[in-house]
Symmetry: C2
Subunit: 588 residues, 2 copies
């Protein structure tokens, strides 16, 4: 196999075009097999194989610097830059991250997993090169989907003014994670259809030189293109048409489903395995059922997503029922716009439910503060995947609580089971007093079997689920159940009957309840499924700062973890019931 000869990019330069083409086929098969085993980004990587080979054939990484956007398309690059064993050897499948990482290779310049950053980063690399008097090409590789993000635009607007080499490769596969959204994509379509010669040209309007490449899945053509722009003395956009999922029939057809796949999506013939479609009730289905139900009778109900509908079950059936661009709105990768837009909808009397992942709400602090909370618009934010996990460092869900809960006016709720979540959704739908966010429970659905009739308009009212003494356990959201396990252990093993509290409100302190604990408790522990710093528990500790109550805060340490197994993290953070009990026994 050709791939055996490839240990670094330079090895490509010794191959013929035929060998390069064969190499592409081999790489494609390895990528399919690996991703079908581990899960991961499939479609974007299959589409960029040939362009990546041509890029490394023409340029000289790492002297020439290639900066990937979001890294959804970096697998071929990894194969060609000394990391092929991660694809060819199933024992090594988990050795490297799914994103670019300087720790892995000198060919990766940045750790990247959020979109729309490559042009700004590349401009910085190019500018530093010029300041230092160095040489070499700087190349940003960005997908068309990432172009909808404001940070990318800010980068483009500035990059065109660089007085030096900068090559921006736009990998246009006519798809974001889901469909592209926005007027820009009509212009990209026009450019594809006119082979790049249309006068109306987004990139040129931002001041760029521009070159169109009509077949990014043709190595020879792409080599010719890259040779033309190599050593350019000015910024240039190379607009490359590729096919997402290229070479895998089902991925070419169903581009969204094959953007990222779970393990064992394909059978041995690379055909999609059909599942029976019966998914048990879960927090996603609770959400979509609720929205569909309300939307039927209330035409002002709108579901909004910034480009990640799949993550919360906003599937095609859901979208069709709501009516795309009517009561279902995908704004593209544009989280900032999503918040401002949702704020204005809510302020104008509509009922937006804006779903977003914990990791991506990070992109909206100022919009949450200024566009939303300062204007006190009664939006409903649904924050998914907020939890300590074994995720990549780029997709941690532990920072949403400090990020959001220290902004004035926002009410942030943490349900612990299905019924509470439903009651909070109902409250969110009806209320018009506050911007409201719900941290959708993460993991297996828990049901109490009892309808929750709590009046959530009474803010910051915690729920005592067991009246005990000595120690009070405040378990927030996902970690309420951890609190129950700790309580069980204390009861059964140590004859201690702790008070157990489900706070429900992340953004406020139940003063009356906390005061009352002073009577017969001397220890309070807080449990939160996120970073401790700036979070929920510290507010409880502050409350007791002037008292004799001792308080211990549990949660994640302030650090970026990278694919650390969850049980290891729990142990590191002393989040196992036994560790917590051990600590408690020291203080009571």
């Amino acid at each position: 196999m050709i791939i055996e000869k490839i240990n670094e990019p330079n090895d490509l330069k010794k191959l013929t075009i035929e060998e390069l083409n064969n190499l592409a086929c081999e790489m494609r098969q390895f990528i399919i097999k690996k991703v079908n085993t581990t899960g991961g980004h499939l479609g974007p990587n299959l589409g960029i194989v040939e362009t990546t080979i041509a890029m490394h054939y023409v340029f000289n990484s790492p002297e020439d610097k290639i900066i990937y956007d979001v890294s959804h398309q970096c697998y071929p690059h990894k194969i060609l830059t000394g990391r092929k064993e991660c694809f060819t050897n199933c024992d090594e499948y988990f050795k490297y991250s799914g994103y670019t990482s300087p720790e892995e290779s000198c060919h990766d310049l940045f750790k990247v997993g959020h979109t729309s950053t490559s042009v700004s980063l590349a401009l910085g690399v190019a500018k530093a090169r010029d300041l230092k008097g160095d040489k070499g090409n700087v190349i940003a590789l960005i997908g068309d989907g990432s172009l909808s993000g404001g940070e990318a635009y800010e980068g483009f607007n500035n990059a065109s003014c660089l007085n030096g080499n900068l090559i921006i490769v736009v990998n246009d596969n006519d798809m974001s994670i889901a469909e592209n959204q926005g007027g820009l994509y009509q212009n990209l379509k026009l450019l594809r259809e006119t082979n790049g010669v249309a006068e109306l040209n987004f990139f040129k309007s931002l001041g760029f030189d521009y070159l169109y490449a009509d077949d990014g899945n043709n190595i020879q053509k792409m080599i010719d293109v890259f040779k033309k722009v190599k050593d350019s003395n000015h910024p240039i956009v190379v607009h490359v048409k590729t096919q997402k999922g290229h070479g895998l029939k089902c991925a070419e057809i169903n581009k969204e489903m094959f953007h990222w796949i779970l393990p064992n999506t394909l059978d041995d013939n690379n055909e999609q395995i059909q599942n029976n479609g019966n998914v048990p009730e879960n927090y996603n289905s609770i959400t979509t059922d609720f929205i569909l139900n309300k939307a039927k009778d209330d035409k002002t109900v709108v579901a909004i997503t910034p480009a990640t509908p799949g993550a919360y079950g906003f599937n095609h059936e859901f979208r069709e029922k709501l009516g795309e661009n009517k009561q279902y709105i995908d704004v593209g990768i544009a989280e900032e716009h999503a918040i401002a837009y949702g704020s204005a909808l809510a302020k104008s009397g509509a009922k937006p439910f804006l779903a977003v992942l914990s990791s991506f709400i990070q992109r909206t602090y100022d919009q949450l503060s200024q566009d939303l909370c300062l204007n006190n618009s009664p939006i409903t934010l649904l924050i998914y995947w907020g939890a300590i996990t074994n995720a990549d460092a780029t997709h941690l869900g532990i920072f949403d609580i400090p990020l959001m809960s220290n902004i004035p006016n926002l009410i942030y709720l943490a349900p612990t089971n299905k019924e509470e979540y439903q009651a909070m959704l109902e409250y969110a739908y009806k209320q018009t007093a506050h911007p409201l966010a719900i941290r959708v429970p993460f993991g297996e659905m828990v049901s109490s079997g009892q309808v929750d009739n709590t009046d959530y308009s009474i803010l910051n009212k915690y729920k005592v689920t067991n009246n005990g003494e000595k120690v009070a356990i405040i378990g927030l959201g996902n970690f309420y159940h951890l609190g129950e396990r700790v309580a069980k252990n204390l009861k059964e093993k140590h004859n201690i009957n702790p008070t157990v509290i489900n706070p429900k409100f992340i953004t406020g302190v139940d003063v009356e309840l906390l005061e009352s604990l002073n009577a017969n408790h001397n220890l309070v522990i807080t449990l939160e499924d996120g970073v401790i710093d700036g979070g929920f528990g510290e507010k409880i500790t502050r409350f007791y700062g002037n008292s004799n109550m001792k308080v211990l805060n549990y949660g994640a340490k302030k650090e970026f973890t990278d694919r650390v197994p969850l049980d290891e993290l729990y142990k590191r953070y002393r989040l196992t019931p036994l560790q917590i009990v051990e600590d408690i026994l020291k203080y009571i």
Copy 2:
């Protein structure tokens, strides 16, 4: 005077063009006089007088909804919408805010003071109108400067796809706060020079219908333009050329200086009062002197600003010495790009000093987290105006500590005087281990007169400035001096000798020192010039959670305050030395 007849927008419709023109002159004079008395945004408001009159003449606010971007240009709107007394009556000069505010008037839809939000907000308003089956025009008014912000772009990209009325008025006065930055502005220039007919058109490339208006300072012409687009059944951009500072000679010439002016900038003849130019040494000059000094010998030193150079003394002399677009970079209103760009510069071995206001660092949480801190790039961030102030709700400087200090890897320093600041700048310049931020002291410069030789590479080492007992006062940054005043009072009035601590490090806890306080203290108080929630003090409280130490945290409450006098805020937050002493005496 015509203005006497104007109490609401409808009153305009009864006037002749001649009367409208006279009204514009009257409004202009009132704006100049008011702003020259109170300080405020001058140039942008003078430029938009005629367009605002025409807009309110043609449209019917509040049925037609006008949404302002950043509100730098809302004064004429305020005059025409029932708030003229704020300009005509000097006793009422401070009655209304300098920004749009729904609390003031039904003609203001949102409280806005950060840029680039109007298109997203307008799209939400228009969409809600359509969902509810309502009628009316929705108009966004955005300046050319605001177009450099990513949120604006995200809004434009989505707005063009609305299937209904939306009118985006681009007020193009060929200036941001300072000069515009980026390739886009070449396209705006081309459009102005071709009277809007050039094929290359940024707005059209995003899918918009487009109309060019060559003289936004001509009421008759603008009435005709707005009549053309009124009741448009689709989104359209009206690109209006105006003159910033129109009608005030010195503001027309020196556009940047007259963007926002201090009181008494003009004499009675509306001529600029020349000051003697001798500004005493201050934290701005410390910064610029330091950067210029380093940049002389190190060509990799770069000063970066996202469009607000004036705030930190990056004046024309400074810029020229560094070389515009060489070692001085204004990225335009593009804070996200600024952080990513700076991260890449730092990662590539350059020495970026990125200056930004506390209120605007809010626009960069995800870039701080992902582009910068996850990649551990050794940038230097200089955070200005971080303090409790009497500012507008849109420009509070109290949130930077919770925003930044809960992100892993960042080192955030709080100097308390000139010499510490200089030592920290020196450390920042030399170190390559961390992303580093300095909270530039706010207010009058304090000098110790003694060179600071602290080795800041020893992280989280607090400085004890007085060894005492019973109570320890930890005064962070600006509030170290408040801590000293509290200590003085305790000593002189109550014969208590408190320990006084200058922590210097916002992002870490000095474990050894805090432990040692347990020996002979039973109370620690923390003072920080920002919101308490999620901030510095809560970490100290958490540290002592399992001990007998009592801890009181002082700082701002989690709330948006709006032009509340500082002494009132200090009293509200119990931040006067007497209040703090009163509290302390309760616990020791």
